[in-house]
Symmetry: C2
């Protein structure tokens, strides 16, 4: 395994937008009754599959809602109109179908690493099953019809989440974003509110859905993700050999020192410190092999997941203490495990 | 041993100012020849004691000068007029005699902890020995005559270095300094350039030298140091039980994490981080028993001592790397030793 590239390809997401023929788009539904009829129709297509569970948005707790949004299984938009909407989610949370979001159906598959084809196959299987029960709005010329024209045609959005610390530190992301935009690809920072991506995380996805095949889209995103990974590896080598290598090494090692010793830790700090620890591991400054496990720890310690991890409701201060303890001991264990090998 | 008070009483310094009868004060010497004559006179009184070494200020290297000043064995003032001045320093550097600083003789003893009486006895022994060879300027009414009237009488300055993190954090130092000033005592921050004492270090000393006995001075400084230590202990308990205890614990533990993991470290950072590590040890948050040893590490890693510790001349960057490595591994070893007990 080429350690220098570790952690770059974080996850893959495929999303399909579908609507039911003869039904007004969710934004134009007559009443709640019509909305519930759609929910019934869609879920009946999947109900036979044991591992999907139906969540009515008006009957889930605020905490469940927060957790589902945080883990990207539903959108905040779905909750905003909760008396009309629902979601089908499978057991391992890799598959979800939002009902009555912007479109009648938003089918999604999330998997780890770069697996666009696999994710597409998985969600297509669900799409076919539902398609046997429901007739989707489809036009021979245009393809799948969607509420917003940006999704017309394939209704497909293929996204890859990338961890790009070296390209960020070396100031290349602005140029990369500009170049990808010319090729019809969008780049978004993942955690941050501002323009700077927190945790060096970026999501790359196709902008164009019309006039191209599903194959074209998946191919383009896949090739781009691989190309960017190569660029990131080059920049990581440049970091190791560059004039700022000591500063980078110092920053990474301090991040490890802080996370493994602190008495309290906010989720924002953990995102940013974990990003530096992962970089330290990739560059060989910190002896941790499984950098993806650090992502799992960070996700588990997010505000929308931490109560579940703790098995009880924690106050804000208790969360910061629990997070410091959990993240610190688990990341330290990763390092100790390597050191004892 | 009462751990809560650990580290408070850092060191004791006794200084005597003396001048030679019939000689103009150093600021009024005729020429270098007269200055050298004084150096000869003074050192002849101590030459028989094996463990004193004479350093002419105009013949020591810049580095030795820096090291002697840094370790408080001579003053920058002594180097400023190096063609006229010298210093006698004993082997363990506990005793030093500056020759032709502001006065003909500035005799000093520095020892660890609070040992005013012992330090006074040690320097008095040297003073007597020199006094057998040289007649000091002495007035029956005034006592010892000195170049500056602030030293007239006893010529004695008794100082104690105190580490006062809790009183500093709880904002009590301003009031303490005001009260001590009313009692004729001066308080100075030790490292910092500004008004804030770096490393929570303060030096307390007598301002009055005239119209009091040596006993009075030593008694007053000793009682004050003990009283302040009690106050500091109370404030440390308040820190543990106060609303900011988690913040304090977090700060101390992070300081430990940074020092034991960083790849480079400036001396200023080490002073400040070590101060927090010591506090964490005193409050029971970090498992280190011998906090005084941390002071030794910090001193060793100061710019004026680090080349000696490394055994070679280091560039600025090399120093920061060496300091990170040395301080980190030694402080970690202190903690590991305790954890394995």
């Amino acid at each position: 395994m080429n350690k220098i590239s570790d952690g770059t390809l974080v996850s893959t997401r495929i999303r399909l937008a579908r609507n039911i023929e003869g039904m007004p788009f969710p934004g134009h539904l007559k009443d709640e009754k019509q909305a519930k009829e759609i929910i019934r129709l869609v879920s009946s297509g999947l109900n036979r599959l044991d591992d999907f569970k139906l969540y009515y948005m008006d009957s889930i707790s605020e905490w469940d809602a927060e957790s589902l949004v945080g883990n990207h299984l539903i959108s905040p938009n779905l909750i905003a109109k909760k008396r009309m909407s629902a979601a089908l989610i499978n057991e391992d949370s890799s598959l979800s179908v939002m009902i009555n979001e912007e479109d009648h159906l938003r089918e999604q598959c999330i998997v780890k690493g770069l697996q666009l084809r696999r994710a597409y196959d998985k969600i297509s299987e669900i799409d076919s099953k539902i398609g046997k029960k429901i007739k989707f709005s489809y036009d021979e010329q245009l393809g799948y019809l969607t509420a917003c024209p940006t999704n017309l045609g394939t209704g497909l959005r293929a996204s890859v989440m990338l961890y790009l610390p070296a390209m960020t530190i070396n100031g290349l992301m602005r140029e990369v974003i500009r170049l990808l935009s010319k090729q019809g690809l969008t780049v978004r920072g993942v955690y941050g509110e501002g323009s700077e991506a927190e945790g060096y995380m970026y999501q790359i996805s196709n902008e164009v859905t019309l006039g191209v095949t599903e194959e074209d889209i998946i191919d383009q995103v896949d090739k781009t993700a691989r190309k960017i990974t190569e660029l990131e590896c080059t920049e990581r080598r440049n970091l190791i050999n560059g004039v700022n290598s000591l500063a980078v090494k110092d920053k990474c090692k301090r991040a490890y020192g802080v996370v493994t010793n602190c008495a309290r830790l906010t989720s924002g700090e953990l995102v940013s410190l974990a990003a530096d620890i992962k970089l330290g591991a990739c560059l060989g400054y910190i002896n941790i092999d499984d950098v993806y496990y650090i992502d799992d720890i960070v996700t588990k310690m997010q505000p929308y997941n931490i109560n579940k991890a703790a098995g009880k409701n924690l106050s804000a201060e208790e969360r910061d203490i629990y997070r410091a303890d959990y993240a610190g001991s688990h990341i330290k264990a990763l390092c100790d495990r390597e050191n004892s090998n």
